[in-house]
């Protein structure tokens, strides 16, 4: 694939936030991206160069998470102040909800993949907010610690929350039903469902990675990481047995390929190039190309999650976040010093294809 269509990105825009870049969220059409910083500002940047829209000025209270509803109607934000903010986007974005959660650092938000329902981690609870009806759907208890990560099953049938002692998965048809427990003898730092919904992965504090196949209570456990497993990404597209799973720990990235035989588990492939902590990893939608951002100030693009085909820079103090737009034609990144950059795919030359 990669031989046929040489992929490369070109810087399209760049700018500056007031402090450490914390969060990114693209609109579903991929034309705009929302960005936030530790100084509290939230801006909306257009890929085409239109002037930025400021949704919130820096107020000194960090914004740490942004989430765009799948229909592109709502943008949710949360942070240090504990206030959940929801804007209705459009010609002139309008702040429609402002929900205070005192004493809570709001750092995990996730929209249901089809409905305008937002899951948020409120300490050791998870609350579901219906943005259309502007009301709380339910509040469930994670219990064993604060919620350290949240993710809806891609079909929207279940919601997973991770933290101390593992992951709890609620059935969205019946929130009162006891959650299914994926137990771990450690702390789940990050979790991710594969796009086909068949696998659930947990990156853990004890330097392990655990993957469950749905319907099988016995997970695979991968070891040998140099530190906490901080970030996970599944490929949307794959050629082998299962989607590729990328994991990051310190300056290293490991790609896991599932073996044909379940008993053989997953084969690791180490991607080494970064020389400081990897801060974010993301597969390009619809391909096996992986982008990795690091505190070393570089972003690597790994074709087929194997070899580096392009290096991007522009954040001298190091990169803190990165996100592809949904069509995979543009990449946005934030820096620890507040720089933001957008790259766009070069237009393919007209000719053979």
């Amino acid at each position: 694939m990669s031989g046929l269509r040489k992929f490369s990105l070109k810087q399209a825009r760049r700018g500056q936030l007031r402090d450490y870049g914390t969060a990114l969220a693209w609109t579903p059409d991929g034309a705009q991206v929302a960005m936030a910083s530790a100084a509290g500002e939230i801006v909306l940047i257009s890929l085409d160069g239109a002037p930025q829209q400021v949704l919130q000025e820096a107020d000194g209270q960090s914004i740490d998470v942004l989430a765009m509803s799948p229909d592109g109607q709502f943008l949710a934000a949360g942070g240090q102040a504990g206030t959940l903010l929801i804007w209705r986007l459009g010609e002139s974005p309008e702040l429609i909800s402002r929900l205070d959660n005192p004493r809570t650092w709001l750092d995990h938000l996730a929209w249901h993949p089809q409905r305008n329902e937002l899951a948020m981690g409120l300490g050791s609870y998870v609350q579901i907010w219906d943005a259309d009806a502007a009301e709380v759907v339910t509040t469930v208890m994670f219990e064993s610690s604060s919620v350290l990560d949240l993710a809806w099953h891609p079909e929207g049938t279940q919601l997973a929350a991770g933290g101390h002692q593992g992951i709890k998965v609620w059935n969205c048809q019946d929130w009162d039903e006891d959650p299914q427990i994926y137990e771990l003898p450690t702390v789940s730092v990050c979790l991710a469902w594969s796009a086909n919904g068949e696998y659930l992965a947990s990156g853990n504090m004890d330097r392990t990675l655990v993957v469950w196949a749905m319907g099988n209570p016995y997970p695979w456990q991968m070891q040998g990481f140099p530190g906490k497993v901080r970030d996970l990404a599944w490929s949307e597209f794959w050629l082998g047995e299962a989607p590729l799973l990328a994991s990051s720990s310190r300056e290293g990235i490991v790609i896991w390929h599932k073996h044909q035989n379940d008993d053989q588990g997953w084969n690791p492939q180490v991607l080494e190039l970064h020389n400081a902590r990897v801060s974010a990893i993301a597969f390009q939608p619809q391909t096996q190309l992986l982008a990795s951002a690091s505190e070393d100030g570089s972003i690597c693009l790994w074709a087929d999650a194997i070899e580096v085909v392009q290096l991007l820079d522009g954040a001298e103090a190091g990169f803190s976040a990165l996100a592809w737009n949904p069509s995979g034609t543009a990449l946005a990144a934030l820096g620890q010093a507040g720089d933001w950059l957008l790259w766009q795919q070069r237009r393919p030359k007209t000719g053979f294809f």
Partner: protein, 323 residues
């Protein structure tokens, strides 16, 4: 347990003490006193700090037990999460103070800064400061938390001295000293203390000299029979590093949960440099220090603070490590 304060790491002061001892008064002083430091505070008891500040963050105590409940792998998950968020704003503060609840065991807080990779890389533990209510401590003597808060401390504020007599104070101070001979004890009213005495203390800096009150070593007067106490060993002679290693690892494995803190300076055989070490429960860290000075008597000094420690046995076992 490597905790060499590096450039760019943020020093952390852990503030412990029973509810009502004066922690909040001290916190308010830290936040208002002009000491040239930008201080971020993590509070566990909400609503007490009367100062409006963006860098006062609430956190609820969350204990993460890892490795099947191994005591040294018990850390504070809430601190890892909140400090992780806070470090994105590190240009906004240059010192972090963590207030623990009155009933908290200080060990998991301390261990968090040695065990967690993020905390180790970005922060350095400066000191554990414990505020003691001179009048009401007697109501809590038997509580494990009260004893641990004193035992783990580097700095102890004997607060509310105006509410008790000099004789009572003397008695209390002796009692505290027998529990923890490493800590500096200050008598205060309204938690009034020089900021330099509690911020920038560098108590966990290995290269800071071990300061044992020489009086303590002479004293045979450990008249209080607390289960928590200090044991100081001073021995001339050179230590066989291999024997010492074997003894210490055996000691930490069998008695780690009872050894709260230890510190020492050793004269290793064949070495020109002093060897310094410290430990918190089963976490241990040591490194060569400066060379022995020509006139300096080469000796070994070790201090253990813990519960139910057997002084005779410790002495005997240590002597067996001498060449």
């Amino acid at each position: 347990m490597v905790n060499t304060p590096m450039l760019n790491t943020v020093p952390v002061t852990v503030l412990t003490g029973y509810l009502g001892a004066g922690k909040t008064t001290l916190l308010n002083r830290i936040l208002t006193y002009e000491h040239g430091k930008k201080v971020a505070v993590i509070v566990n008891e909400f609503g007490e700090v009367g100062i409006d500040n963006q860098l006062i963050i609430d956190a609820d105590e969350e204990i993460f037990e890892m490795n099947n409940g191994c005591i040294c792998c018990t850390v504070r998950g809430d601190l890892i999460r909140i400090i992780g968020n806070l470090m994105r704003r590190r240009d906004k503060f240059d010192h972090l103070v963590i207030e623990t609840t009155g009933l908290a065991d200080p060990a998991p807080v301390i261990q968090t800064f040695f065990v967690d990779e993020d905390m180790r890389e970005q922060l350095n533990l400066d000191a554990v400061v414990t505020v003691v209510d001179a009048k009401h401590i007697h109501d809590h003597w038997d509580a494990d938390e009260a004893q641990e808060q004193i035992a783990f401390a580097d700095v102890i504020l004997l607060n509310k001295t105006d509410l008790v007599s000099e004789a009572e104070l003397q008695d209390l101070e002796t009692r505290i000293r027998s529990m923890n001979i490493m800590a500096k004890v200050y008598r205060t009213q309204d938690a009034a203390i020089e900021m330099n005495d509690i911020l920038g203390v560098k108590a966990f800096d290995l290269n800071r000299a071990l300061e044992v009150d020489p009086q303590f070593l002479d004293e045979d007067a450990h008249e209080h029979d607390e289960t928590v106490g200090s044991i100081a060993l001073v021995e001339a002679g050179a230590v066989d590093a291999e024997k010492l290693n074997a003894w210490l690892s055996e000691l930490l494995q069998t008695q780690g949960p009872n050894i709260f803190r230890m510190k020492g300076i050793l004269n290793l055989e064949g070495e020109d440099d002093r060897f310094v070490f410290q430990g918190v429960h089963m976490l241990f860290d040591g490194s060569p220090d400066r060379p022995w000075k020509p006139q300096e008597p080469r000796k070994n000094e070790l201090v253990f603070i813990g519960r139910d420690l057997d002084e005779t046995q410790l002495k005997e076992d240590f002597r067996a490590c001498l060449v």
